[in-house]
C-alpha cells in the first residue's frame, strides 16, 4: 500500500513538473485528485484496509495529497506568471508612434499677454475693470486735463462720431469713471480696445489695445509707482529685467515718466532687436495730476496716486518677437497655432 502511494506520488510529481501549460496541469490534477483520480481511488479503497491500519494509511494518503496539492499550486503560479509574461511581451507597443491629441484651439497672443498681466495685478490686489469703447469727449480728454484745443488732442488723431462722442484713444478715461464711482483706496487695471487714425502698416493699426492701471490712496508715492512697475515687468519678462524711468510729459500725470526695460533678447548689451540701445521703451506712467483727481471728485489734499498705460500689442510683439502688427488682425490659423 505504501509503495503504491509512493508510486502515485512520484508519478504525480513528475507529471506536474512536466506540465507545460495550465490546461495540462489541470489534467494532472484531475488524473490524481479528481473524482476518478488515482489518489481518490486509494481513498475509496480504504474500506479494504484493515481497520487498525486505516489511520496510518489515511495519514499517508493525506500527506501524499497535501504534497501533490502544494506542487500543483506552486506550478500553477509559475505557469500563470509565464503566461502573463508571454501576453505582456506580445503586447509591447512602439511608444514613439504619434500621439492622438485632442484638437484644442489656440489663444490669441494679445489675450495670452493680457491673461498674464491680469494674473500679476489681481495678485497684487487690483480689480480688473472695463469702460466703453465709444466714449464722451469729456472722459477721453477734458477730465484728463486735455481741454478743448489742447495740442495733445491733435497728436492723438482721434476718430469722432460727433462733437461729443468719439472712439476712445486711450484706456485712461476708465480712470476717471472709476474715481467718480469709487472711494479710495482704488487699485485697478483697465484693459481694452482703443482707436487712433493711423493707417495700417507693420507697426501701426487704427485699432489696438491698452492696459491702464491706477492706484489711489492716502500715501501712494512715485517710489511705489517705481516698485510696482518694476515688479510687474520682472514677472512679465523675467526677474533679471532692469528698468529705467525717464522724465516725460502726459497731461494727466505729474510728475510723469516713461519706463524702459533692459532688452530681454540681449540683456542690455545692445542688439538688432533693441536697435543697439540695450533698452526697450515699454510704458508711460506718472502721479495722477491733482487737477484730474479734483475733476473726478477726489480731494488731492487727502489722496494721491499713480497711473500707467501699457500698449498690449507692444508687449505681444516684443514677447513673441512678432515682426508685423498686421498678423495680429489677419487671424491666419498658421499664425495663431504658434501660441
Amino acid at each position: 500500500m505504501k509503495e503504491r502511494l509512493q508510486k502515485i506520488q512520484e508519478d504525480a510529481m513528475r507529471q506536474i513538473n512536466e506540465a507545460v501549460n495550465l490546461s495540462v496541469l489541470n489534467d494532472v490534477r484531475v488524473a490524481f485528485l479528481g473524482k476518478k483520480g488515482e489518489l481518490t481511488a486509494v481513498l475509496k479503497g480504504m474500506k479494504d484496509v484493515a481497520p487498525e491500519d486505516r489511520p496510518k494509511v489515511g495519514q499517508f494518503v493525506n500527506e501524499a495529497r497535501k504534497q501533490i496539492e502544494e506542487a500543483l499550486e506552486s506550478t500553477k503560479e509559475k505557469l500563470e506568471k509565464a503566461a502573463l509574461d508571454k501576453k505582456l511581451k506580445e503586447e509591447v507597443i512602439d511608444v514613439t508612434l504619434p500621439a492622438k491629441r485632442n484638437k484644442i484651439g489656440h489663444r490669441h497672443p494679445n489675450t495670452l499677454v493680457l491673461d498674464e498681466v491680469e494674473r500679476i495685478f489681481t495678485g497684487m490686489g487690483y480689480e480688473v475693470v472695463e469702460g466703453p469703447e465709444l466714449e464722451y469727449d469729456y472722459y477721453n480728454f477734458e477730465a484728463l486735463n486735455i481741454p478743448a484745443n489742447h495740442p495733445a488732442k491733435d497728436e492723438q488723431d482721434t476718430f469722432y462720431i460727433d462733437d461729443k462722442i468719439l472712439l476712445r484713444t486711450q484706456t485712461s478715461p476708465v480712470q476717471v469713471r472709476v474715481m467718480e464711482k469709487q472711494k479710495p483706496p482704488i487699485r485697478m487695471i483697465a484693459p481694452g480696445r482703443v482707436f487712433r487714425a493711423d493707417e495700417v502698416d507693420a507697426t501701426h493699426s487704427p485699432s489696438f489695445h491698452q492696459i491702464e492701471g491706477m492706484v489711489i490712496d492716502k500715501n501712494v508715492t512715485f517710489s511705489d509707482l517705481k516698485g510696482t512697475l518694476t515688479m510687474f515687468v520682472q514677472q512679465m519678462f523675467g526677474k533679471d529685467t532692469k528698468v529705467k524711468f525717464r522724465p516725460h510729459h502726459f497731461p494727466f500725470t505729474e510728475p510723469s515718466a516713461e519706463m524702459d526695460i533692459s532688452c530681454f533678447k540681449c540683456g542690455g548689451k545692445g542688439c538688432r532687436f533693441c536697435k543697439g540701445e540695450g533698452w526697450i521703451e515699454i510704458l508711460g506712467c506718472g502721479m495722477v495730476h491733482p487737477r484730474v483727481l479734483r475733476m473726478s471728485g477726489i480731494d488731492p489734499e487727502e489722496y494721491q496716486g499713480f497711473a500707467f498705460g501699457v500698449g498690449l500689442e507692444r508687449i505681444s510683439l516684443l514677447k513673441y518677437e512678432i515682426d508685423d502688427m498686421r498678423l495680429l488682425y489677419e487671424n491666419d490659423e498658421r499664425f495663431l497655432k504658434q501660441f
Partner: protein, 806 residues
C-alpha cells in the same frame, strides 16, 4: 527739435562730455534725445590743402597731377579728374589712410570710403581732393560749393588745419523729443539752459546790447492791434539801407548744423534768431506798407490773399491777418504776403516779432493746409516776453553783420504783460508725492539751476514766464525729481489699506466661454470694430433691416472703416476667407468682440456695446457639431436647462433650412447655422461654413453656478423603446417637448437612436425611434408606474399626428 552740440557748448562754458554722455544725461533729466548724428561720421584725416602746381597727366587727357601743400614739410602729389582745380586753390584733402563719407555723386556709403595711396594710370597719388558730397554734405547746405567738382574753400582757409572743423562738420546734431508742455525747449537757449542744469554748469546766454540810431521808429511806422485776444504782443523795428551779402562763416556753420541752408545775411539772421530764441520773425519791405501803418485784425470772410510762395489762399474771418492801411500783407504767424515780401531791390525793412495765439494759428494752419517753420513754433503757444528780446537780438546781429542801419526805438503793443508765477514752496508735499526725503535747500538749489527763483520772505518759488508748465506742487515735484534723478528715487510697494484683486462675474463668464471655444478646437481671432457699410450687402441684409442702422465715424480712414459694426459676422467671414484663400484646411476660429448698437441715431448717448462670442468653421464638422459647442458653452456657465431652437430665425445670411435662434428660458441668446452659399461666394469661400453667435450680456445675465448634488440612485432602470411614424414637418424637438412635459418624474432620460426617411415610410412621414429610460429615485418602479407614464407620452404624441410603428 534739433540742436548742434557745439552751439550748446558755446552757451554752457565748461561743458565737457562725450556725445553719448551728453545724450544719456539729457534724456534722464527730461529732455529726451531721440538720436544723435555726427556730421563728421566717417570723415578722417581730412585737412585744408592748397594746390601749388598742376601738370598734365602723361597718359590721360582728363587727369592732372597736382602738388599740394597740406601744411607739412613736403608737398604731396595727388592725381585728380576734377574739372575745377586750379593753381593756388584751397581744397579739402583726404590724406593716405583717411576716409570720406561717400562718392562725389552724393551717395553716402555705410561706413565711409577709405582712401589709400595708389597709382592712377601709372602716376602715384597720395590722397584725394574732395567735393562737398564726399564730405557727407550737399551744395544746398554749402551754396558756395561747386555743383560738380572740388569744394574750393575761401582764400583765407588755414592750410594744414582740419577741414571738417573749418566747415563746422565736427559737430553732433542732437534730435530731441520735446514734449508739448516745454515750449521753452523749442529753442537753442532753452535746451542749453537744461544742459547747464543737467551738468551743473553755468548757462551763459548772449548779451543783447542796445541798438539803433538817433531816429525814432515811430516816425516810420504805427501799429494798431484790433484783436488783442489773438495777438498778445506785437513788436516792430525798422532797418534802413539794407545791403545783402552772405552771412559770416560762424553763422553759416550754426545754421547748417541746425539743418538750415544759409541764404543771405538778412534771412540768415531771422532764421538764426528763430533757432536761438524759438521766436519766429518776419521782415516786410517797408516801402510796400501803405500808410506807414500795421493793423492786426481778422481776415474778411472769403478774402483772397497771395502768400509769398505765389499761392492764392482763401481766408475766413477766424484767421488773423497783418494789414497795412489799405490791404493785407501777411497771414499772421503763418506766412507773409507776396505784395510785401523782401526782394533783391529792398532798401528799408520792417521787422516783426509778435506773439500770436497758438490755438488760432494751429487751427488756421489746418484750415489753410499750411504748416510753416514759424507756425510750428507759434502753435505751441509762445511766451510774449520773448518777442522783444528776439527783436533786439536780431537788430544787434543786423548791426554786427553790417546788414543795414537800425532805426532807434521799437514799437511794442503789449497791453497785458505776462508775469511769472509765484507758487508756494512746500517741500514736504514734494517729498510725500515722490516718496523721498530730499532737504529743502537741495530743492531750492535744483530750482535755481533752471532759473526758478526763491523768495525767502514769502516762501514762494518764482516761476519765470517762459515756464508756462509750472503751476502747482506736482509740477515743482517733477522739477525736483528730474534733477534729483528718477533713478535715485527709492523703489517701494504701496502699503495702504489692502484691496481685493478680482475680475468681474462678466469677465469670468467670458473667460469660460473662451475656454469652451478653445477646447472645442476654435482658435481666437481679433478683427476691427469698424467696417464698410457695403458689408450689409455682402451679408444679404434687407435694405430696411434695423441692423443697417450703424454708427458712422465722421472722419474715418476710408469707407472700409467707416461704420461701427452692428453684426460680428463680417470679421469672422473675412478671417475665414483669408484662411481659405491660403489653403488652410479645417479652420475653426472664434472672436470675443463688441458690436455697437445705437439706442438712437444720431447718437444722443453712448451706444449699447454688446460683446459677442462668434464661432466660425469650415472643413470638418457640421451644424450639429456647432450646436454641440453652443450647448457645451451654456452648460459650462451653469445654463443647464435644455435650450430650444427656433428654425424661423429669418437670418438672410444663413441657409434658409439650416439656421436657428438659440432660445434659453424663453430668451434668444444667439443664433447658429450654415452660412448662405451666396454669402460664402461673396467671401470667396467654396466650402460650407458654419457659424454661431452668442450674445454674451444675455448669457452673463442667465449664467449661474447655483446647482446642487442630486445623489446617485441605486434603484434599477427600465427602458422602453418607441418607434414612431412622424409627419415630416414635426420636429424632433417637438417630440422631445412631449417627453419633457409628459414623462413625469420617473422618466430619467431619452435618446434618439434612429431617424429614417425613405421607401418603407409613407409619403410625408419619417420614422423616428427613441429609447426612454425610467427610474425611481425612492423606489423600485413597477410596471404600472412605467405604463402610466408611457400612456401620457403616447397621448401627447398622438396629438402631433404621430403613429406608433407596429
Amino acid at each position: 527739435m534739433d540742436t548742434s552740440l557745439n552751439w550748446i557748448k558755446d552757451l554752457v562754458p565748461g561743458l565737457e562730455c562725450t556725445d553719448q554722455e551728453y545724450m544719456d544725461a539729457m534724456t534722464l533729466s527730461g529732455t529726451k534725445v531721440e538720436q544723435g548724428n555726427r556730421l563728421d561720421k566717417n570723415l578722417s584725416k581730412i585737412v585744408i590743402g592748397q594746390v601749388k602746381k598742376i601738370e598734365k597727366h602723361p597718359d590721360a587727357d582728363k587727369l592732372v597731377i597736382c602738388q599740394v601743400d597740406v601744411g607739412e614739410d613736403d608737398l604731396i602729389q595727388i592725381v585728380t579728374g576734377a574739372p575745377n582745380v586750379f593753381e593756388n586753390a584751397k581744397v579739402p584733402v583726404v590724406l593716405d589712410g583717411g576716409s570720406v563719407a561717400g562718392g562725389h555723386d552724393g551717395k553716402i556709403v555705410e561706413g565711409g570710403v577709405k582712401i589709400k595711396k595708389g597709382k592712377l594710370r601709372g602716376v602715384e597719388s597720395c590722397g584725394m581732393m574732395c567735393s562737398i558730397e564726399e564730405l557727407g554734405s550737399t551744395t544746398e547746405m554749402f551754396p558756395d560749393a561747386a555743383e560738380d567738382g572740388l569744394y574750393i574753400l575761401p582764400e583765407d582757409a588755414p592750410v594744414g588745419e582740419s577741414a571738417p572743423h573749418y566747415l563746422g562738420l565736427d559737430d553732433l546734431v542732437v534730435e530731441y523729443e520735446v514734449t508739448s508742455n516745454r515750449v521753452d525747449c523749442f529753442s537753442i537757449l532753452g535746451i542749453a539752459r537744461e544742459a547747464a542744469a543737467t551738468f551743473d554748469k553755468k548757462f551763459v546766454p548772449p548779451v543783447v546790447t542796445e541798438t539803433g540810431n538817433s531816429e525814432d521808429v515811430n516816425d516810420y511806422i504805427k501799429v494798431r492791434v484790433e484783436d488783442k485776444e489773438l495777438c498778445k504782443r506785437y513788436t516792430a523795428r525798422v532797418v534802413k539801407n539794407v545791403k545783402f551779402a552772405p552771412s559770416p562763416i560762424w553763422m553759416q556753420k550754426r545754421l547748417r548744423s541746425q539743418g538750415i541752408r544759409p541764404i543771405n545775411n538778412l534771412v540768415d539772421i531771422t532764421n538764426y534768431v528763430m533757432e536761438e530764441f524759438g521766436q519766429p520773425m518776419h521782415a516786410y519791405d517797408l516801402d510796400t506798407i501803405a500808410g506807414k501803418e500795421i493793423v492786426v485784425k481778422r481776415a474778411e470772410k472769403g478774402e483772397k490773399f497771395t502768400t509769398l510762395d505765389g499761392q492764392e489762399r482763401e481766408l475766413d474771418d477766424s484767421m488773423l491777418m497783418i494789414c497795412d492801411a489799405e490791404k493785407s500783407v501777411g497771414i499772421a504767424g503763418i506766412m507773409g504776403g507776396e505784395n510785401s515780401m523782401i526782394t533783391e531791390k529792398v532798401s528799408n525793412i520792417l521787422f516783426e516779432a509778435a506773439c500770436f495765439d497758438g490755438t488760432n494759428i494751429r487751427l488756421s494752419g489746418k484750415k489753410l493746409g499750411m504748416r510753416t517753420d514759424a507756425s510750428a513754433k507759434f502753435e505751441k503757444g509762445l511766451d510774449p516776453n520773448l518777442a522783444m528780446e528776439a527783436m533786439n537780438r536780431a537788430c544787434q546781429l543786423i548791426e554786427e553783420l553790417g546788414v543795414g542801419e537800425v532805426v532807434g526805438g521799437a514799437v511794442d503793443v503789449y497791453d497785458t504783460k505776462r508775469e511769472g508765477l509765484r507758487v508756494p514752496f512746500e517741500p514736504e508735499k514734494y517729498n510725500k508725492l515722490l516718496g523721498t526725503d530730499i532737504p529743502a535747500e537741495t530743492m531750492i538749489g535744483y530750482f535755481a539751476k533752471i532759473d526758478l527763483g526763491y523768495d525767502k520772505e514769502t516762501n514762494e518759488i518764482l516761476v519765470p514766464s517762459w515756464r508756462q508748465d509750472v503751476l502747482c506742487d506736482a509740477d515743482l515735484a517733477e522739477e525736483v525729481a528730474r534733477f534729483y534723478g528718477y533713478d535715485k528715487i527709492p523703489t517701494t510697494l504701496p502699503n495702504g489699506q489692502s484691496t481685493t484683486g478680482k475680475i468681474s462675474f462678466k469677465q469670468y463668464i467670458e473667460k469660460i466661454a473662451r475656454q469652451v471655444a478653445e477646447y472645442c478646437g476654435f482658435s481666437q481671432g481679433m478683427t476691427y470694430s469698424f467696417e464698410s457699410p457695403k458689408v450689409y450687402d455682402k451679408l444679404l441684409i434687407d435694405q430696411d433691416d434695423n441692423v443697417r442702422n450703424a454708427i458712422k465715424i465722421s472722419n474715418p480712414l476710408g469707407e472700409d472703416f467707416s461704420i461701427m459694426r452692428t453684426l460680428s459676422l463680417n470679421g469672422m467671414l473675412t478671417s475665414l476667407s483669408t484662411n481659405y484663400g491660403r489653403r488652410n484646411k479645417n479652420v475653426r476660429l472664434y472672436e470675443m468682440g463688441n458690436i455697437y448698437i445705437p439706442k438712437q441715431l444720431p447718437l444722443t448717448e453712448l451706444p449699447d456695446e454688446r460683446k459677442q462670442l462668434t464661432l466660425g468653421m469650415y472643413g470638418e464638422g457640421d451644424f450639429f457639431e456647432m450646436k454641440g459647442v453652443v450647448e457645451e458653452l451654456l452648460y459650462q456657465v451653469g445654463m443647464r436647462n435644455k435650450p430650444e431652437y427656433d428654425p424661423k430665425a429669418e437670418l438672410n445670411f444663413l441657409h434658409p433650412g439650416k439656421q436657428a435662434n438659440i432660445i434659453y428660458d424663453g430668451k434668444v441668446v444667439g443664433y447658429l447655422g450654415e452660412v448662405h452659399p451666396t454669402v460664402c461666394a461673396n467671401y470667396a469661400i467654396k466650402d460650407r461654413v458654419y457659424i454661431a453667435v452668442i450674445d454674451m450680456p444675455t448669457v452673463t445675465e442667465m449664467a449661474s453656478f447655483d446647482y446642487k448634488y442630486e445623489g446617485i440612485v441605486n434603484f434599477p432602470a427600465s427602458s422602453r423603446d418607441i418607434s414612431m411614424v412622424v409627419p415630416k414637418e414635426v420636429l424632433v424637438g417637438d417630440i422631445e417637448k412631449v417627453f419633457d412635459q409628459r414623462g413625469g418624474k420617473y422618466l430619467e432620460s431619452y435618446k434618439l437612436f434612429d431617424l429614417y426617411e425613405g421607401e418603407q415610410i409613407k409619403d410625408g412621414f419619417k420614422s423616428v425611434a427613441y429609447s426612454l429610460v425610467f427610474r425611481g429615485k425612492e423606489k423600485n418602479l413597477e410596471e404600472a408606474d412605467i405604463s402610466k407614464a408611457m400612456k401620457k407620452i403616447l397621448n401627447g404624441l398622438e396629438e402631433l399626428g404621430i403613429e406608433l410603428r407596429a
